[in-house]
């Protein structure tokens, strides 16, 4: 594994994170958070933490996103910031 790949994934993680908190739509934020989690999962897989990556893929990218979507669906998509 090369550190360049590592760096690219890390950058993607950070971008997704910033996007998730700045997008003015909560549904979008939830989805972006899923993407963030997925990138994170990649990063950990790259680092050799396969179990953690697996868990993050199923929990962070999977269930968490569903929970976010469910919660947003039951409340509102509107956000001011």
């Amino acid at each position: 594994m090369s550190w360049q790949l590592d760096l690219i994934v890390l950058t993607m993680v950070v971008i997704c994170g910033i996007a998730a908190i700045n997008i003015r739509d909560l549904l979008g934020a939830g989805i972006l958070f899923g993407a963030y989690s997925f990138m994170m999962c990649l990063l950990w897989a790259v680092m050799g933490a396969v179990d953690v990556a697996f868990t993050e893929a199923s929990v962070g990218a999977g269930v968490s996103t569903v929970l976010f979507v469910a919660a947003v669906f039951r409340t509102t998509r509107r956000t001011k910031d």
Binding site: D51, F54, S58, V59, V63, V66, V69, A70, F73, R74
Partner: protein, 276 residues
């Protein structure tokens, strides 16, 4: 506030980044973290527990106590969501929608109107009306068994490959959630009721804690699976391996049930009539 927050965050961040110079180099094999405790796990795990996946061995045996409470945390979250959100008294919705199955026509019935009684022809659908989609329904119906099969594989094969009770449980839960999304919440609840979820979650954690307590009853310390050897009729190392499998199954059950339970409550805001 925005600027202030930014300034504080940047300040803290730069101090922290500055202090990373004291850290051991990234990935250095001789860093204290890699030399003090962890070598023991790597070198002894297979001999002690007959589990090649060191993470599983450490998770469920060396630090099994942690994992028991990790499962309990999930259980707590399940109860907490139920406790906070569930509305037990039934509130009649002001409007209900029914689909006439042979034609696909949607009926809108105001509160107090007569409900159609033939459930074979009429099917209640969510008020936030979703068009009937054959492709999604069929695909999900076909995929879900395989997801569940995979989940079982993940749970049972956690000794040898990445995965284990927790991941498998989440996947198992996800399959039911997928079912709930692809049909609707009422169908999912009719397949797997809330009460069953609650029982399964408690049972799952109970299997874990009970296995530990069984060890205690058999005279060893809490969670010392080697005490299960006479019961399982194997030697003490294999007893640990089997013990890990038992608790992984418990974890899987609990996590699955709780994930579904939380989803039921969140997606319907505790009403359990109309979901995502």
């Amino acid at each position: 506030m925005r600027i202030l927050g930014l300034v504080i965050v940047i300040l803290c961040g730069s101090i922290l980044i500055y202090h990373t110079s004291d850290f051991p180099d990234w990935g250095h094999p001789a860093s204290p973290a890699s030399t003090h405790v962890s070598p023991y796990y790597i070198e002894k795990a297979l001999d002690d527990t007959a589990v090649p996946n060191i993470v599983t061995a450490v998770l469920a045996d060396y630090r099994g106590y942690d994992t028991m409470f990790e499962t309990t945390v999930i259980f707590c979250a399940g109860i907490a969501c139920f406790f906070l959100l569930r509305i037990t008294r039934r509130m009649e919705p002001s409007v209900t929608l029914y689909r006439h199955l042979p034609t696909g026509i949607t009926l809108r019935i105001e509160k107090g109107g007569k409900e159609p009684d033939d459930s074979n022809i009429f099917k209640r659908i969510d008020t936030q009306w979703v068009p009937y989609d054959l492709i999604i329904n069929t695909t999900c119906r076909m995929v879900i068994p395989f997801i569940q099969l995979f989940a079982l594989y993940v749970i049972s094969h956690g000794h040898h490959s990445p995965g284990g009770g927790f991941q498998g449980g989440v996947i198992l839960g996800a399959s039911v959630i997928l079912f709930a999304i692809s049909t609707d919440l009422r169908t999912a609840i009719s397949r797997m009721s809330e009460r069953l979820g609650a029982f399964l979650s408690a049972t799952g954690v109970f299997i874990y804690a009970g296995a530990g307590a069984l060890c205690l009853v058999l005279g060893a310390n809490f969670l010392d699976y080697s005490a299960l050897a006479p019961v399982l009729n194997v030697n003490s190392v294999m007893a640990r391996s089997h013990g890990i499998l038992i608790v992984e199954i418990g974890v899987g059950l609990a996590v699955m049930a709780v994930m579904i339970w939380i989803y039921y409550n969140l997606s319907s805001a505790g009403r359990h009539d109309e979901g995502l």
